[in-house]
């Protein structure tokens, strides 16, 4: 048997191992379970999906879409824990509003109403809560949604990190577009709506532990306007939209490849990364493709509509930095491949947990 065939057999064995049902091996929750990578996926599939299983939940999209009283609605929820609470370009308040607005938007829905739940730590300054609420109000006005219900809980000092916010939201689907990561087809084009990694790098630097200064601000923004612009231009041709939050663009692309059973081929040169984000990532030894955004989305559209989609995105202020970054192919299914700027090829996998700063 040649070495290549032996290697091929090993690769197939690995592929089978990766198809196996997810199992949580840890006895306790670790930080990796919240990072949006493989550990998060495993936890969701093995614990939550196992317990709640139903057809609406099963696709594990950013929100659930269902009919009610003749209308089609989208429903989603998200919790926000961020340290520091205030950072360049935003705070936990606008993050919580924009995040839920974006989860609804990428379902193809027009966001309407949000709820807001607060878990506050005893001793938390009321002034900070005012600032956060004001910022939520501004974000809601900008996204044209109303915060219509809420809840407040206080826990003892030391039992929480200042302030956690949970938002849920409902939106209305006004067109018949059925978006889903499983809909990507060979020949489709993959776009990102702007430079990647800015939110994640901003937070890492804002913590101050790394002593790195850079001119980066969070990209937190509501995407509903951008989605509407895209749908107005190429509505029928859009296969799926995802906002690239935890786990970054790389994780979203893997979800698409896996759900649709296709290969996604990305051109490294085409992925927009602003210089300070790149500099910080080089210094810390992390890959911007895995760094979180809070106002960027990945769009998969019919290949023939790629240029019109790009023009529609670039015509909106939040999509000025949009780019076509890759194509969908049929083989090898389930893998995301990167054509490196250097001219080589490699795969892009999902990380286990957060990208960690490294020295080697």
């Amino acid at each position: 048997m040649t070495e290549t065939t032996r290697e091929q057999q090993v690769l197939e064995r690995i592929d089978r191992a990766r198809q196996r049902k997810a199992r949580v091996r840890e006895e306790r929750i670790t930080m990796a379970h919240g990072a949006g990578g493989k550990a998060t996926q495993t936890l969701i599939e093995a614990v939550f999906l196992d317990a709640f299983r139903n057809p609406l939940l099963e696709p594990l999209e950013d929100g659930a879409v269902f009919g009610a009283g003749g209308a089609r609605l989208a429903f989603t929820t998200d919790s926000y824990v961020v340290s520091p609470l205030f950072f360049p370009g935003g705070d936990i308040g606008d993050l919580a509003v924009n995040g839920t607005v974006n989860d609804l938007s990428v379902c193809g829905a027009r966001p309407l109403y949000l709820s807001a739940g607060f878990v506050l730590e005893e001793g938390f300054p009321v002034e900070d809560l005012r600032r956060i609420s004001a910022s939520m109000a501004r974000a809601a006005a900008a996204a044209e949604v109303s915060i219509v219900t809420g809840d407040t809980k206080v826990v003892q000092r030391g039992k929480a990190d200042g302030c956690y916010v949970t938002t849920a939201g409902v939106g209305l689907l006004e067109r018949d577009a059925r978006l889903g990561v499983a809909h990507a087809r060979p020949g489709d084009a993959v776009l990102v709506s702007g430079p990647v990694g800015e939110h994640g790098v901003t937070i890492m630097l804002a913590r101050g532990e790394l002593d790195i200064e850079a001119d980066v601000t969070s990209d937190t923004a509501p995407l509903n306007g951008l989605v509407a612009a895209l749908q107005a231009a190429v509505g029928e041709e859009v296969r799926c939209l995802r906002d690239a939050t935890r786990g970054g663009v790389a994780t979203i692309l893997n979800e698409i490849a896996r759900a649709a059973g296709v290969a996604v081929v990305v051109e490294e040169d085409a992925v927009p990364v602003r210089p300070p984000v790149r500099g910080a990532c080089e210094l810390l030894g992390i890959d911007p493709l895995y760094v979180a955004c809070e106002g960027r989305m990945v769009a998969v559209v019919d290949g023939d509509a790629a240029e019109s989609a790009l023009a529609a995105l670039r015509g909106h202020p939040l999509g000025a930095g949009a780019a076509i970054v890759g194509r969908v192919r049929d083989d090898p299914p389930g893998l995301v491949l990167l054509k490196t700027a250097f001219g080589g090829t490699r795969i892009i996998d999902v990380l286990v947990g957060d990208p960690l700063p490294r020295i080697c």
Binding site: T4, R6, E7, Q8, V10, L11, R13, I14, A17, R25, E26, R28, I29, T30, M31, A32, K38, A39, T42, E209, L210, D211, I212, A263, V265, P275, R278, G279, E282, L284, G285, R329, D331, P332, L335, L337, L338, K339, T340, A341, F342, G343, G344, T345, R346, I347, D349, L351, V352, G353, L356, P357, R358, I359, C360
Partner: protein
Amino acid sequence: MRFVDEYRDADKARALSARIASLCEPGRAYKFMEVCGGHTHTIYKHGLEDYLPETITLVHGPGCPVCVIPMGRVDDAIHIAERPDVIMTSFGDMMRVPGGRGSFFDSTAQGADIRMVYSPLDALKIARREPDRQVVFMAIGFETTAPSTAMTVLRAAAEGVRNFSVFCNHVTIIPAIKAILDSPDLRLDGFIGPGHVSTIIGCRPYEFIARGYGKPLVVAGFEPLDILQSVYMLLLQLAEGRSEVENQYARVVPWAGNIRALRAVNEVMELRPYFEWRGLGFISHSALRMREKYAAYDAERLFDIPGNRVADPKACQCGEVLKGVLKPWECKVFGTACTPETPIGTCMVSSEGACAAYYNFGRFSRQRVREATR
């Protein structure tokens, strides 16, 4: 980015690739070891093997500081970290490395205070800020990193900071290369030498490889063109019947190394008689410990550590992978029992580990990928 982007140019790579192919003798297979895990990472991250003829195999070497830490040392560090008066500090690289009873991350989930730092100086800063806690720095790395640890200890001593100490796991590369050269199961044609270690130790310490063992060595930089050029230089030496130490990375590596840095290390640390390397076993004079003079900064002396030797899991073939005898995919548990989510061996944890690099970046059939990316 300057001194980075210039060395990632695809046109120059194509030209070098053609030169490399023309230097290969027909019918001859070449095996070069890149000693350093940083090179392994670069090779996979940029897809560099696409530029090499199939007759050239790059064998991944032992130069991955995280990969060579034996499980017992991780357990010792966790033992220290679990003390309520201790703040353990560590580079991000160590956080997921499994010991006999879990990793740093498992330990923080149990309540230990383990913090990631970018520099040993950041650990010292924490010590200044929290004078009531003992701040321990988990020092790992080859000669590249040891001077930074040494300078930090000297700084702590000068400032009279008394709640800072180092759990010293620094290792030295030459004995490991020698162990590989003396191992009977590997035939190599040459070495791609570790560039950043060489900024400190210089190029002279490799001369025994070229003279004594007759193997050429080229000290190489970390951008993909650096590595391609080094392969070219190795092939040229072989074609011309030479066996020398050459420096491809002269923009960063002075031939004599960094005397100031070596002096700092020598002031604070001394060679251990022997040290266990994961997978490679005990290698004499292959690691550093704190000198008696700096006992007050030596976590090994300050805290009781169990010091138990933990045998590597039976199924794990990290040793063979670290020596370059096995390719990652040839290990029995690769990709099935041992994955980045559930690492058995260290090679699967470190971003420099050969197994992690292959699993994360290179786990595909090159032929199918060529089709897909055409």
